[in-house]
Symmetry: C2
Subunit: 511 residues, 2 copies
């Protein structure tokens, strides 16, 4: 007779995941439609639901069941689904139970105060006002890392990385980022020295948000995002919430000018959304599906970001995409677009120009912003950089890597919200996403020789199926590095992204 | 030292109410924005949250705390807030714990099947197909009533009434409904015999839903509904969800023609919404407020409905309202409305004509539909009418009271969803609402002699404040009958509603 431990374990996880999905709905609603005056009560609702979810994720019963299953040989055969599932359940359980309750509560409380202090300090460009909070949050993050413990031969920072990008180490990231940074610094300098001036006139048209929304939905539908199992709304900050099986919600924001902002926001979140829809949360045959089990979850933030950046940059900023999309845009967005050709759009959305703000950076310079943050947070966590010296270190790197002067801390080290609520070890996943995307893209084009031609006709089905087969359906069965090796036949390397950016710059700037 | 039992009891209730509010958000989202494919998972989310809420409402600890408080003399002084609160907490606890779990589960399961069967049967106008389900649901309702137990000297039906309209009995309702029915039958007959033909041309214009929505929001704002603490959306069936403090959500539906459908839907739900916003859920001084305590809940469905019907019919279908609203409608809805005068709108929205479908009935005949259902469900519960004989009894009453022939069961006894999921004892609250509204309206106009003049200028603040002071702020402190007595100085009587309808018919039909 088969043991009932594994089914019971899965049922418990499913209940925890259901609570999480309710929590995600509370978040989504707060960002989209919740009346303003509901905010105080919403925080009570969220904290109650979070507590109930946490109780389930950390329950002693879960620990017992997990231990039983781990000693059951029928479940732990090498390369079996159950073995992978149990490995990841163990990881989650340890992450959830290794931190003392008091530390979790303190991080939540101080983080929420620090975030408010950050808002005020950023608006006033007043680093000194934020410094005590930054110091506290790094102290708490260090405590958290110590509770998790550094991996053998690794450093404390690795313990934090592990939350977002399981298995990777700071050393490995460094080995990829350092050569990439040098090559990108060189590329950016060559672009700056180029005499080619790129016109962005084609992006300076006023376009009604309602039409932009309809256009965005049409692009999502072409990408294969199932709008019957998801939706697109408007929020201050775009996001994707894969909140449950059959329920993936995207948001974007519209400006009257520069319609590509909302379009690329939509394609970016759409890429995340396709990943969420491709995860085996729902079993076609059975109602239950794998929802709640690691096998139905995304493997890492880096891989998640590879999916969004692929659709945003490798598809959306390509010539074939505009070959298909421009006539549609001319028809439904603005007849004024008829003055422009595919090459105009391609050049305008691929300008490379060093700038101060990460979230507004172009594809060519974006990773420099990320690498600067990685270097600085790693040094601060290890105690090699004192928080008080952050502005100086920040500004020196912007000068060094991007050749620009930071005029004030508002546009410098106070620009990101992450550190204020203790997100340390998160930034590098943005660039890992770009690297994975580039490496996957090369392999995809080798496997699908007609892809460019297809994209020019708005046909993305082969691309989506490739991603579904090689990435989405695996969930967390393989760690990100193994998934990369299996999908591309090679370990992660910076050469593919560099090649991609060099090729674009060559076309746009005639380098 | 003050006992900690009462604070602990209130904290437990607050947690249960928070879970209920999450449940309401899941419902609201399902009706408004949820992607279609999310339905299976939504039912899992709802069932988990419902279980958690139920556990809190029925927890033995709640019972212990309640018993402690009930024996604490400092909490049970006559006329004190705490005494009223404890009285209602006891009522809720008994209602929640008196039913065996198995019966609750069976009613939920059979009810959900019966509702599906009802949909099919109604579409096919096939009463025989629905009969077994109707029989089952009445059997289960009878069991439920037996678990609650009939009050001393009362009948089983009273135990069900008590869920929706605490304290009232079938006998009391009968004593009000029977004379009203006779007088209304007479009024309807006189209208039918009148030679006046009322034109409804002014309602037959095509008006864009977007403009209707903006108009509805402007009316809500004038009514004093706080759109910063609520919203208006579109659903298949309009509703109001007072889901939490600062969070009251209304919905309506738009047709291209007959813009007054959506308008009155909006004003109706807006009346419910003003009640919800007027309940003392949030304390201006303290964060917590009374949210979760009976003192912050609506007293009964009848009183709730009195608020919605007052704004819909007594305000919205009045001449002063149209004096204010027509120029606005002419400007923002359609210039074609300029052909019409206030008296045209007043007459068109106050036609009286017997019809088959309750939810489409006019103000004059609506209560007849309700009374028929009350008589029939009371008889079926008591065993005086066999479910198989329902169509015959139904059709006989429609002929008798409204003078019309029912052509088929689809437009007859199969038209309402209520019985299919065991809502027995609910229907009379619709008419109780109209009766309360009429009686309150008379007193309000006596207290506020300028009300008609004010309404003609779109000034509703005195009305809203009267309702806030006399109804909303009391929550469940007084039972509905006592609230009526306190607010109007008289027990509930049918004369006020009859007078109101007679007066309107006199103007519109020259009776």
């Amino acid at each position: 007779m088969a043991s009932t431990h594994y089914p019971e374990l899965k049922a418990l996880l499913r209940e925890a995941a259901l609570m999480n999905s309710v929590s995600s709905l509370l978040d989504w609603d707060q960002e989209t439609y919740m009346p303003h005056a509901a905010a105080p009560m919403r925080s009570d609702q969220k904290s109650l639901v979070a507590t109930l979810a946490h109780e389930r994720r950390t329950s002693p019963r879960l620990g017992e069941l997990l231990a039983h299953c781990e000693s059951d040989k029928s479940l732990t055969k090498a390369d079996s689904e159950s073995a992978a599932n149990l490995r990841e359940i163990r990881r989650d359980y340890d992450l959830a139970t290794k931190l003392p309750k008091e530390l979790v509560a303190e991080m939540a409380k101080v983080g929420s105060q620090a975030q408010e202090a950050w808002k005020v300090a950023r608006a006033a460009s007043d680093f000194k006002a934020f410094l005590p909070w930054l110091t506290k949050m790094f102290d708490l993050s260090r405590k958290k890392a110590e509770c998790y413990g550094a991996p053998a031969g690794g450093e404390l920072y690795d313990a934090l990385l592990n939350e977002y990008e399981p298995g990777i180490t700071a050393k490995e990231i460094d080995a990829i980022f350092t050569p990439l940074r040098k090559d990108l610094t060189d590329l950016v300098a060559r672009v700056a020295a180029s005499k080619t001036k790129v016109s962005t006139k084609c992006l300076e048209l006023r376009i009604d948000p309602t039409q932009q929304h309809a256009f965005g939905q049409a692009v999502l539908a072409a990408m294969g995002f199932d709008l019957n199992a998801g939706r697109l709304d408007t929020t201050a900050h775009p996001f994707c919430s894969g909140l449950a099986a059959g329920d993936t919600r995207l948001t974007t924001r519209y400006r009257d000018e520069k319609f590509t902002d909302a379009l690329y926001g939509t394609m970016h979140e759409g890429g995340h959304g396709l990943y969420e829809q491709g995860l085996p949360k729902m079993d076609g045959e059975k109602d239950a599906g794998l929802f709640g089990q690691p096998l139905a979850d995304a493997v890492s933030l880096g891989i998640h970001e590879s999916q969004s950046r692929m659709w945003e940059n490798f598809v959306g900023r390509s010539k074939p995409f505009w070959k298909w999309a421009l006539p549609k845009a001319q028809k439904t967005l603005s007849p004024k677009l008829k003055k422009f050709e595919v090459k105009d759009l391609f050049a305008a959305v691929n300008t490379v120009k060093p700038s101060l703000i990460r979230v507004e950076a172009d594809e060519g310079t974006y990773n420099m912003h990320v690498m600067i943050r990685f270097e600085l947070e790693r040094a601060m966590l290890q105690g090699d950089l004192a928080p008080k010296d952050l502005p100086e270190a920040w500004n020196a790197r912007y000068k060094d890597y991007l050749g620009i002067d930071v005029p004030d801390d508002r546009r410098g080290c106070l620009q990101d919200v992450h550190w204020s609520f203790g997100l340390v070890g998160y930034f590098p996943t943005y660039t890992l996403g770009n690297l994975y995307a580039a490496q996957l893209w090369e392999k995809i084009n080798a496997d699908l020789p007609d892809l460019s031609k297809d994209m020019g006709k708005g046909k993305f089905i082969d691309l989506r199926e490739w991603l579904g087969t090689n990435i989405h359906r695996h969930g967390r069965r393989y760690r990100a590095s193994e998934l990369c090796q299996r999908a591309t036949g090679k370990p992660l390397s910076p050469t593919h992204l560099l090649q991609h950016l060099e090729t674009k710059a060559a076309v746009v700037y005639g380098l």
